[in-house]
Symmetry: C2
Subunit: 405 residues, 2 copies
């Protein structure tokens, strides 16, 4: 999907939290430095990645001298002992009881401080998203706090074979939902400027709801709604789509849910046209498809993302499709070609766009060029690829065909 | 619902982010102080509350000398101008273009700094959850950063009449889903130690999926899955429920989705028993119901939450239901009676529990006592109430009846 990060768009500045931090991320590899996360696992992919332990409440993770710890309340203790993939599960109560003997109003930061003191930790490296109220409180306790990178575990952007398999399953679920949209459009009828399905006008909202329900029934949740937009709306990649889907225009279907079981994401886009596509739209579609094929062909470990992105740009230009502001709005190919995906829908720092990222074996990237002209329509085609030393493997298959009669 | 905050449980320490901040929250009311939020509206209820503007990407909100601003990228500009309920919509580009003349590598913090300099802002008050990497970068620019409270806008816990109406609609949707579970159980048959529905065993997962789909079809999303748990599982309020639902045991159904349109939440719990309830379970149910009725009767602006909570506790004790660790697990009434609810499922600081919160007119609170004994079963009954000067109004109605034959 192509919607939720400004950094996908070449026209805007980097506003990711990681972007605030300009130095080289701390590695925390000396004898008094630990790595530390305190968050809810549902909000923090790094925490879940490190522990594989999901708890409704926030808990702490510590990595220090090759050992890993989670610090949890009694409520989580039994489940943490069973599920958390760490060397030690520490009940916070231990420190609370110790401190309560000499101190009134013991708060969480006191417990962390006591734990660090016991271990000999003086510096902690934390994710850049860590709340400043927590960091300020730790610093008051004379603990040095430095910022790690984003992702906190760089290995996350290089998927294992098992993770790759997991993501193939995610992608199958996505294509199941894409198929639902295609079949619904096929079973629909055009009357005037509307598409009718089972006795009612088919709207973006209605088809989106069908997709959401389908995904949920298959164990996937669309935290962000799928993009199902037609006509001029399809020319704004930020637009989810509202109101009646229009026949004889391009309909962009971009679906990117998360598996409730594994927490990995799938992500794919197809562009359809219910009815007859104009020659201009057909040519636009063929060009985007050619661009995507070129992109997939170029993907390989060691290749720079911007080289691929620029090649697609050049191809589009050569075919006569210019990018830039026309009549007060951006037209052409004005977003990035691809992003890394896994436990998060967009993972830093791997990108196939104007930035200088060198692809690594194990990256799972989207390849999703698009062209958008309000007078013709919007077209985007997206697949995920697994980067290898010799090229890449596309995750799952789904036909790429514009017209649905 | 009763699951996602430790602070609901009297046995644990406060681990909310707000808890790190011990001083009185800054108000930012002098001539050089602004209030500032930078986040995604989907993650930050305060930001959405202030602007009513939903954007996929993070944006900034500033409140300074009775004026309000949002600072957005060009991609959000048109929609912000239409939707954001602020005095000024500022394109970040303006500052970017200015700074680019004299500075290389302009980052977001530079833009904020330039904006603050122009206004004369020297101190900003931000939510305690603000990333420390952003705060560190602002402090390097000699901007003083202080922590506001949680919620950032205290008015959020006092609902307007319109918000109250909105939440009545949320609660109707919740009761629609509760009804679905009750009717499904009614249409089911007991065979041995299983409940059968339409040719297959009814599990927690299956009924939960039916509820999720129902909610989605009605414009509500269960970000956290409903709790549907039976037997001994129902005695752990942290347990979502897995596997076959058991007949002749209590089944807790706790549903707390968010409206996709308004972003407000509903939240209700009913306890059912498919088949025959033991006399002990019937008595437990009657006692929890009596406790809930007592709680609802006591709720009134000016009353302290802990007084209500303690009264329910005392009633349960009087009826012979003790609370504490028995055979290595917590039993009895070991969570709080209620929490504030609105744009977030649990809103600080309003609570009906051991803490000393004085109820205010306009609070929307849950009243959800429960009793949990593995040898009898778990029972919880929950409604939402709107606090008034003379008492409270219950939001929506749904029967409270244990047995389903």
């Amino acid at each position: 999907m192509m919607r939720k990060r400004k950094s996908m768009f070449v026209v805007v500045i980097d506003v990711s939290v990681a972007g605030f931090y300009k130095g080289r991320p701390s590695k925390g590899d000396d004898m008094t430095t630990a790595r530390f996360i305190y968050d809810k696992s549902e909000n923090n992919a790094d925490l879940f990645y490190a522990t594989k332990f999901d708890a409704p409440d926030a808990y702490a993770y510590v990595e220090y001298r090759k050992k890993t710890y989670v610090l949890v309340s009694d409520l989580e203790l039994d489940r943490a002992r069973g599920a958390a993939q760490v060397s030690h599960v520490i009940p916070l109560r231990t420190y609370r009881e110790k401190l309560a003997k000499t101190k009134k109003d013991v708060v969480l930061v006191d417990l962390f401080h006591a734990f660090f003191a016991e271990l000999g930790v003086r510096t902690i490296v934390v994710p850049p998203s860590t709340p400043f109220s927590l960091v300020d409180a730790l610093r008051k306790k004379k603990i040095r706090v430095e910022s790690g990178g984003s992702p906190f575990f760089p290995a996350r952007v290089q998927k294992t074979k098992q993770e790759w398999q997991t993501m193939i399953n995610c992608q199958k679920a996505v294509f199941g939902a894409v198929k639902l949209t295609e079949e619904t459009l096929r079973k629909s009828n055009i009357r005037g400027n509307r598409i009718w399905y089972r006795g009612a006008v088919l709207t973006s909202e209605r088809l989106r709801s069908m997709v959401n329900v389908h995904l949920l029934e298959h164990g996937y949740m669309a935290k962000s709604p799928p993009i199902i937009s037609s006509g001029v709306q399809a020319c704004d990649p930020h637009e989810d789509g509202t109101g009646p889907l229009l026949p004889n225009t391009s309909i962009i279907v971009d679906i990117f849910p998360q598996s409730l079981a594994t927490r990995f994401h799938g992500d794919a886009t197809r562009t359809f046209c219910k009815g007859r596509a104009s020659d201009a739209l057909k040519k636009l579609y063929a060009t985007v498809l050619k661009g995507q094929e070129l992109g997939i062909k170029m993907v390989k470990a060691g290749v720079h993302g911007n080289k691929i992105h620029n090649a697609i740009h050049a191809l589009f230009e050569k075919e006569g499709y210019k990018t830039g502001e026309i009549k007060g709005r951006m037209q052409g190919f004005f977003h990035g070609t691809g992003h890394s995906i896994g436990l998060e829908i967009h993972e830093e720092p791997a990108r196939i766009n104007a930035s200088d990222y060198r692809l690594q074996a194990g990256n799972v990237m989207s390849v999703e060029p698009g062209l958008y002209y309000p007078e013709i329509g919007g077209v985007r085609i997206e697949d995920l690829v697994y980067v290898t030393k010799t090229g890449c493997e596309v995750l799952g298959r789904y036909p790429k065909k514009l017209e649905i009669r």
